[in-house]
Structures are given as C-alpha cells and as structure tokens.
C-alpha cells in the first residue's frame, strides 16, 4: 500500500465527538498518521504480521491504520468512555474485526508480564494540562 493511499483511507476516521481538554484529546491527522505508520513499516517492518498495542488509542486512527497496513492483531487501550464510543463507531465504519479494545489506564495496564506485544504505538498526551510527566509515563508503560 502506498502512503498516499493509506492517508486517503484514513480520512474517514471521525475525530472526537466530545474532546476533553484534561485528557489532551486531539485527533492525530491522517497525513501524520499515514507518515508515521508508513515509516514504521518500511524502515522497521514493525507492523505487518505483528501484535500491535496502541496506547491511548482515542478515535483509533493509528489502530485502524495498523490494520490497513497488515498488522496481525491490534489491541487498543483507551481510558475515556466517549473516546471509546468514537473508537467503536470508527472501527465499525471500516468494518474491521481485528481490533480488540481494552478500557484501561495506561499507567495501570491490565496485562500480565512478559513481552506480549511486538510493537507499541502511541500519540500520547504531552503533559500540558496539569499532568506533567504523563508523556514519560506512557513511554515507561510501553517499555
């Protein structure tokens, strides 16, 4: 799949219906999402056939993008009910069955220990809204 194709396919991902400032919810734009995912796959081969974890999935553009790029399985972690509603709607808009949604706090992930996932992707909150250090927490959770 070409990057432009991916970007165009991702145009249909609906953004947050009820964005929350304190969770720093903003949609990742399709151009950026396509660039990031394309680079991950073409430079590192880290999406196709891989077990992918999307931390802070939001509306799901990165998760959906991974499925479009041939991921073996995608697990999306998101804490907010409204975002999850958007995520579920977006996934069904793409008619996908390969994404598993887990509602959880990224700093308290409900997974057993061990290297369960091949690749962790995220566009995390940056800590600009009274939650400094949250971006580091996301990274630590990923590791």
């Amino acid at each position: 799949m070409k990057k432009r194709q991916l970007e165009s396919l991702l145009q249909d991902v609906e953004p947050f219906s009820r964005p929350k400032m304190d969770l720093e919810q903003y949609p990742t734009d399709p151009h950026l999402a396509a660039s990031v995912l394309f680079t991950i796959q073409s430079s590192f081969g880290d999406i196709e056939d891989r077990n992918v974890l999307d931390l802070g999935a939001g509306c799901g553009i990165l998760s959906i993008g991974c499925v479009l790029m041939g991921a073996g399985s995608v697990t999306s972690v998101e804490i907010d009910n409204d975002a999850i509603s958007d995520l579920v709607d977006n996934i069904s808009g793409y008619d996908m069955d390969d994404i598993s949604i887990v509602q959880a706090d990224v700093t308290h992930l409900p997974f057993r220990s061990g290297r369960l996932f091949d690749t962790v992707i995220m566009n995390p909150p940056f800590g600009t809204k009274n939650n400094e250090g949250i971006d580091i927490e996301f990274i630590e959770a990923a590791l």
């Binding site: 056939d49 891989r50 077990n51 073996g72 399985s73 697990t75 804490i79 999850i84 509603s85 579920v88 069955d97 390969d98 598993s100 949604i101 887990v102 509602q103 959880a104 706090d105 308290h108 409900p110 997974f111 057993r112 061990g114 290297r115 369960l116 091949d118």
Partner: protein, 122 residues
C-alpha cells in the same frame, strides 16, 4: 473480546498477586471469519500462556484441534493445527460475559466489544 486478548489480561484489582487468568463466566460467543495468517500465529504462540488458552477454549467449546501442550520448539508446521489455533485466538468473539478476578472474585463485565479493565481500588 478475543481469546488472544483474554490470554494477555490479568486482574485489575489492586494488590492481587496472581491475577491470571481471569475466569470467564456467563459468556456468549460469536464466531467471525478472520483472514488466516500462519506467520502471525507462529510468532504469537510462544507469547501465550498455552494452558490458559486451552482451558478457556475448551470451556467455550472451541478448543477442538488445539494440542494439550506446545512442542519444545514452540513452532507448529501442521496447517490444520495452526488453523485451529487461529480460530480459537482470533475468530471467537466473546460478545457478552463476566471476567472474574481469580483472587478476589470481583467481576467486570463488558459490552460493545470493550473490556473495562480500569484499576479497581477496592
């Protein structure tokens, strides 16, 4: 919830020592057709808690064809076996049910394909 996800999740109750695997109760399943990817299946089986998968798959009646134990090499060549694993892991969708913590017996239910695993502080 796919059984692949079930195999990775542990209890969200605070302070629990051994929260895996979660007990599945009152469950209803649906099966979907998912594209078979033998490379992915072979990669993932070494990451699984195999006995937990076999146990829950048998409980749900979808464990046919799953070997009791994985071979030493943790690689499977037989395509029928790979397909049985693919089916159990990815094609079975538990659409309704309860996940019970093995230690505290606290249950979390889910709907709309979402497993709610936010930290339980009680």
């Amino acid at each position: 919830m796919k059984l692949l996800t079930h195999n990775m999740m542990k209890s969200h109750c605070k302070g629990v020592i051994n929260g895996f695997p979660l007990k599945l109760t009152h469950s209803q399943i649906e099966t979907k057709e998912i594209e078979f990817n033998p490379d992915f299946i072979n990669r993932i089986i070494s990451r699984l808690e195999w006995s937990a998968l076999v146990e829950v798959a048998n409980q749900l009646g979808v464990g046919e064809g799953l070997p009791e134990m994985l071979p030493e090499s943790q690689q499977i060549d037989d395509e029928d076996t790979l397909k049985a694993i693919h089916h159990a892991l990815l094609e079975v969708d538990v659409i309704e049910g309860e996940l019970e913590c093995p230690e505290t017996a606290k249950a979390t239910s889910w709907d709309r394909q979402v497993s709610d695993m936010r930290l339980n502080e009680d």
